[in-house]
């Protein structure tokens, strides 16, 4: 089916990113922000691998190495600019007595985004260090035999969650200008590689003109310039949105905009009894129980002939797919009176709203049901339904409330906050600074590899092609992988090849 095909596709991409870039016999040194995102006093940056000692010396100076497994207060500075980044606690865990079994270090710094990204940047500037892929620390621990059998089961779930978080994050980024840029580069590089490969594999007998390589030369030089510029003003690039992405979705006129207004305590969205009032996504930043939330109200999902509304529905679906948490709003007056019919009814609703691509089970875990307009129901039905919902484990958490009277709001807020806290405590919910550091490392790799093309262009085309291939691999770590078959497709599309 189409749905399972989609699942397979996203699964494959995620699996490739995670698995193939994380060597089993890793000797790279990796680093990452290990503590959660959001407002926090202390952030923990973890380093693991043979260059951990170098990292520690590089950021805290050569004197006074901390005693193993003991906290030491140090000034932390950038190894090149010598600029002081923060003053914090550092730890030194020589292998094998560490979480990963390798030499490790930890930097406990103040939790502001500037400090954290400063430290990550500083680590990335050291030779032999690279940002960790999701789950890499845990996997190294696994390979070092540091995890017991029971922990492995948990690790499986964790990696699953990581994959999901990565996928959502990638979708979010891939919707923006930055993604457009990377995709464009990636396409141009793929084209370059295909043309070099065509020249190598078919240049001798076929009508592939030498001019093809001149085009590649130009493209490579142009790409190098663009990547350098981007690396130098990368920080001014796209503003990556921080915070948990919460999306309100549901059928038309279920009261989605009313819920947004209730949560904002101000009319951010226009509310009317006419179905289809909200046609575009309305976004607002909120602080809910101390957690940063980017709340979006979306157009009601329904079949419509109105072109504007159709676009709204499309955007709504896109938004739901990118969300960390979806609030599915249902008009409670349409609930069947027989409580036994309620799960089927709500199930059908969820199916209509949630994306099918990622596996329904997964979507359900990132969703809260809001049964609005409880004020229009008879009191005894409200009670009966709420009791029934509370003890029905097959459904996501569900709250019966009235946006009109605020009745049931407290109950809903408790359930919302508990979801937010588990999302924010999750270090994987997507930290822009971490993502940025990863991107920078891969872009730098890409830039250097293009140098190899130029170095070998006239000496050895196989080694020159290798450079373009490496560049594409670097970029592929950001945008998704490019395989040999894609290259061949371009070759056959662009050239007339044959004996």
């Amino acid at each position: 089916t189409a749905a399972s095909a989609r699942t397979q596709f996203s699964g494959a991409r995620a699996s490739h990113r995670l698995w193939s870039s994380a060597p089993l016999c890793a000797t790279d040194t990796i680093f990452a922000l290990s503590s959660g995102q959001g407002k926090c006093g202390v952030a923990v940056v973890r380093v693991s691998g043979p260059a951990s000692a170098l990292a520690l010396r590089g950021l805290t100076g050569p004197d006074r190495p901390p005693a193993p497994r003991t906290a030491a207060l140090r000034s932390i500075f950038h190894p090149q600019s010598k600029e002081i980044l923060d003053r914090g606690l550092v730890f030194w865990f020589p292998g094998p007595h560490s979480f990963t079994g390798e030499d490790s270090a930890e930097f406990h710094v103040h939790g502001g985004p500037a400090v954290v990204s400063g430290v990550l940047d500083a680590l990335g500037s050291l030779p032999g260090l690279r940002p960790a892929e999701a789950g890499e620390f845990t996997r190294r621990a696994f390979h070092a035999g540091k995890l017991g059998l029971t922990e492995v089961e948990g690790l499986g779930d964790l990696i699953h969650a990581e994959t999901e978080a990565q996928r959502r994050q990638a979708l979010r980024q891939m919707a923006g200008d930055l993604a457009q840029l990377y995709r464009d580069w990636s396409q141009r590089l793929t084209q370059c590689l295909a043309h070099v490969e065509a020249f190598i594999d078919f240049g001798e007998d076929d009508l592939i003109e030498d001019g093809v390589l001149d085009q590649v030369d130009n493209s490579v030089a142009q790409l190098q310039t663009e990547i350098t510029c981007h690396l130098h003003d990368g920080r001014k690039g796209e503003r990556l949105r921080s915070g948990v992405q919460v999306v309100i979705a549901g059928e038309t006129n279920a009261g989605k905009s009313s819920l947004l207004n209730l949560l904002c305590r101000r009319p951010a969205a226009i509310v009317s009894p006419i179905a289809g009032t909200t046609r575009d996504v309305v976004e607002t930043c909120l602080d809910i129980g101390g957690f940063p939330v980017l709340l979006s109200d979306t157009a009601g999902l329904r079949e419509t002939a109105d072109a504007v509304e159709q676009e709204g529905v499309r955007r709504a679906r896109e938004k739901v797919e990118q969300a960390d948490l979806t609030l599915v709003v249902v008009d409670a007056t349409q609930l069947p009176t027989d409580p036994l019919q309620v799960p089927v009814f709500l199930g059908a609703h969820l199916l209509a709203v949630l994306p099918h691509g990622v596996g329904l089970e997964e979507s359900l875990r990132h969703c809260i049901l809001v049964l609005n307009k409880s004020d229009l129901l008879p009191v005894e039905q409200v009670e009966k339904t709420q009791t029934f919902l509370n003890k029905n484990p097959g459904l996501p958490p569900a709250s019966l409330l009235s946006c009109h009277t605020s009745h049931g709001l407290e109950n809903f807020m408790t359930s919302l906050q508990s979801r937010l806290s588990s999302l924010c405590g999750d270090p994987l919910a997507g930290t822009p600074s971490l993502t940025q550091a990863r991107h920078r490392a891969h872009l730098h790799e890409c830039f250097q590899a293009l140098g190899q093309y130029q170095q070998y262009r006239d000496v050895d085309l196989a080694l020159a092609a290798e450079g373009v291939r490496l560049a594409l691999t670097g970029l592929g770590r950001i945008t998704g992988k490019v395989g040999a078959e894609e290259i061949l497709d371009i070759i056959f599309r662009d050239f007339c090849i044959g004996k």
């Binding site: 399972s4 699942t7 397979q8 596709f9 699964g11 494959a12 995620a14 699996s15 490739h16 995670l18 698995w19 193939s20 060597p23 089993l24 016999c25 000797t27 789950g135 996997r139 696994f142 059998l149 492995v152 089961e153 690790l155 499986g156 779930d157 990696i159 699953h160 990581e162 994959t163 490969e197 020249f199 190598i200 594999d201 078919f202 240049g203 001798e204 007998d205 009508l207 596996g359 070998y456 000496v459 050895d460 085309l461 196989a462 080694l463 020159a464 092609a465 290798e466 291939r469 040999a484 078959e485 290259i487 061949l488 070759i491 056959f492 007339c496 090849i497 044959g498 004996k499």
Partner: protein, 661 residues
């Protein structure tokens, strides 16, 4: 279980048909190879080299080793395959050196990793060489005949597979021949149809009787294999005397022909006696004729998949109108205005077995003892066929001798890339080798195929003769001595400039440089260094070209080594082939279970490359492999295991042990 036995028959092969027609109705051998094309000949020879009593069944002994399409061997990517087949002691490289009349290295200017050794061949001479080799090979019998069906019995319960192939039944006599392994290399003969213009007739090659309809049925209906259909074509042959060569573009061979084989002392054809080639381009008139006669061409009108990289003139005109194309014949072409056709061109459509149904040993997953190689697996090209043939022959022979199966990694050889692509991804068009398919091509070079394969071929695989092995050992020792000698010569850049005034050793390199580093310079050759240091380097001049290449690539190959190690490590984690994924007591989603059950990846590496596989599932599988003792795993295969066979035999549940690095 079939007992091993030795054929009691005269070794003389002068009258093989008398053997075939002998009164006995049931005979037996270790390996039967069906088909005498490039895959079949290499398979039969390889099985024999491994030590198996082998029987090669072919329609006509006189067409063994025929070059049915172009008389050309090697090229970019394909040349690497020829070198690797040779490194495993196959026939093709030596046959090419014997029969070649025009040798050239393609891509000479593009770097030694992508050099494409190629030769134009003399057809009869190539056939003669292959036939002479096969007909004099010990342990090998060649018989003429057609195989009507495969004999299938209950599988060995200790091994994966639903059936077991135990031999073949011959078409003409109905005679039954039993064997522990059967290799099918039927090329385009599996339900083949020939197309010429609007006429269609059954057959796999012009001039040969059709065959294989019974085999097609055996594969499809008895074994339940998925088949697909492909098309290919071959050009018309014209008489040289009828071509106006003055209107053609002359292509000369290399002045010093480079032999394919690591053990050939040179080519049979003398350098100065090589023949030139002629290149002729199409004209706009050709395009017009093709378009006007398209309705008369039923081969191209059908939508069977043909190769994109070797398209027919018709497909090309349709896809890239307005361009000039190279073709061999059409009267619209000035040089061919008076061309006389010796044999017309024709198209072929044929069945292939979707190769994802094979193990990396080229054994059919569901049919124990049945191996497939060549076009039957959806490939095209002599070299691709020969490469699979060698490996299927090795695997079939090893199975017959109860040796564990082996696989070649894609990090070690183009043969490994070819087989991994086929069994791991399957095909949608006839598969041809390109250098761009090999992600480690700077390590998998034509010059070092002997170091990569010959040593293993002797020590681990058992398909290489002592003579070749000794030569490879000598070469390896010579190269590594020479490389250390190069590394030991160290001078400052200034001194280097004095020593080698003709080379632009750059001044910006600070410190000391070794002779190996200097050899990386484009304009420095080993001979130059050897004349500067005759005492130290003089003894190694015979390795000059290989040393230059080694020095150029070594830094890059070092960088690749880690990635290669990672892949090898994943590939060394074999997944049991007969495990019941649907009930495995491991936390896996239903989708992943079904995927694993359907594809049955041979290794963890292959599993992680599957579309739809999740990282969490890989982790659980990894945990399963590394934590579950083998004994328990084999117990999960069947509810009533035979305790006697569990201990040693359980290793057989791994379809392939990678050949060690």
């Amino acid at each position: 279980m079939l007992a091993r036995r030795v054929l009691n028959r005269p070794r003389s092969l002068a009258s093989p048909s008398s053997w075939a027609a002998s009164a006995r109705t049931v005979t037996a051998c270790d390996v039967i190879v069906v088909g005498g094309g490039h895959a079949g000949t290499e398979a039969a020879a390889a099985a024999t080299r491994v030590g198996a009593e082998t029987l090669l069944v072919t329609q006509k002994i006189q067409t063994i080793g025929a070059l049915s399409c172009n008389p050309s061997l090697g090229g970019v990517g394909k040349g690497q395959l020829v070198r690797e087949v040779d490194a495993l002691d196959g026939l093709m490289g030596r046959a090419g050196d014997w029969a070649g009349v025009h040798f050239s290295i393609l891509n000479r200017s593009k770097g030694p990793a992508v050099w494409g050794p190629r030769a134009q061949l003399d057809r009869p001479r190539y056939r003669q060489f292959i036939q002479a080799e096969l007909l004099s090979m010990p342990r090998l019998t060649v018989v003429e005949g057609s195989v009507e069906e495969l004999l299938v019995s209950e599988p060995d319960p200790e091994k994966p597979g639903k059936h077991r192939v135990t031999g073949v039944r011959m078409a003409d006599t109905g005679r039954i021949i039993l064997a522990r392994s059967v290799v099918l290399t039927t090329g385009t003969f599996l339900s083949g149809s020939l197309f010429m213009g609007q006429t269609t007739s059954p057959g796999g090659r012009m001039g040969d009787p059709p065959s294989g309809s019974g085999l097609s049925r055996s594969l499809k209906e008895v074994l339940g294999l998925r088949l697909g259909r492909l098309r290919t074509g071959t050009p018309p042959r014209i008489f040289k005397r009828s071509v106006d060569l003055s209107l053609a573009q002359l292509q000369l061979p290399d002045q010093r022909p480079t032999p394919f084989s690591f053990i050939s002392n040179g080519t049979h054809c003398k350098p100065e006696e090589q023949l030139p080639c002629y290149l002729i381009n199409t004209t706009p008139g050709v395009e017009r004729v093709v378009r006007e006669s398209l309705h008369l061409n039923s081969h191209i009108q059908q939508d069977t998949r043909g190769p994109r990289y070797c398209p027919s003139i018709e497909s090309r005109v349709l896809r890239f109108p307005g361009r000039q194309h190279q073709v061999r014949l059409l009267r619209e072409i000035p040089a061919l205005r008076k061309a006389e056709i010796q044999a017309p061109g024709y198209g072929v459509q044929y069945d292939f077995v979707c190769p994802t149904q094979l193990f990396p040993s080229l054994e059919v997953r569901s049919a124990q003892g049945l191996f497939l190689a060549g076009q039957i697996n959806g490939t095209t090209g002599y070299e691709e066929a020969a490469a699979q043939g060698v490996w299927a022959g090795v695997s079939a022979g090893r199975r017959a001798l109860s040796l564990p199966p082996l696989s070649l990694s894609r990090t070690q050889s183009y043969i490994g890339v070819l087989i991994d692509d086929l069994v791991g991804r399957g095909i949608t068009e006839p598969y041809r080798m390109f250098t761009s398919r090999a992600e480690f091509r700077t390590s998998l070079r034509p010059d070092n195929a002997d170091l990569r394969l010959t040593l293993k071929g002797y020590c681990d695989i058992g398909c290489v003769s002592p003579r070749r092995y000794e030569e490879a050992v000598r070469m390896k020792a010579g190269l590594s001595e020479a490389l250390s000698a190069l590394q030991d010569i160290t001078l400052s850049p200034t001194r280097w400039r004095e020593k080698l005034p003709q080379a632009a050793v750059s001044a910006n390199k600070s410190g000391i440089m070794s002779a190996e580093e200097v050899l990386q310079y484009k304009d420095v050759s080993f001979e130059m260094l050897a004349s500067a240091f005759p005492d130290v380097l003089g003894p190694y001049v015979e390795f000059a070209e290989r040393l230059k290449i080694e020095a150029m690539y070594r830094p890059h190959c070092e960088k690749q080594r880690r990635e290669i190690e990672r892949i090898l490590q994943e590939e060394s984690l074999s997944l049991p082939q007969d495990v019941d994924y649907l009930s495995l007591p491991v936390s896996l989603s239903q989708e992943v279970r079904e995927l694993l059950d359907r594809v049955r990846p041979a290794t963890l590496g292959a599993a992680s490359r599957l579309p739809g596989m999740t990282p969490a599932a890989i982790l659980h599988l990894l945990n399963y492999i590394t934590r579950t003792p083998q004994r328990d795993r084999s117990a999960e295969r069947s509810s009533t295991p035979d305790p006697q066979n569990l201990s040693d035999e359980s290793r057989d549940s791994f379809p392939c042990v990678p050949v060690s690095q």
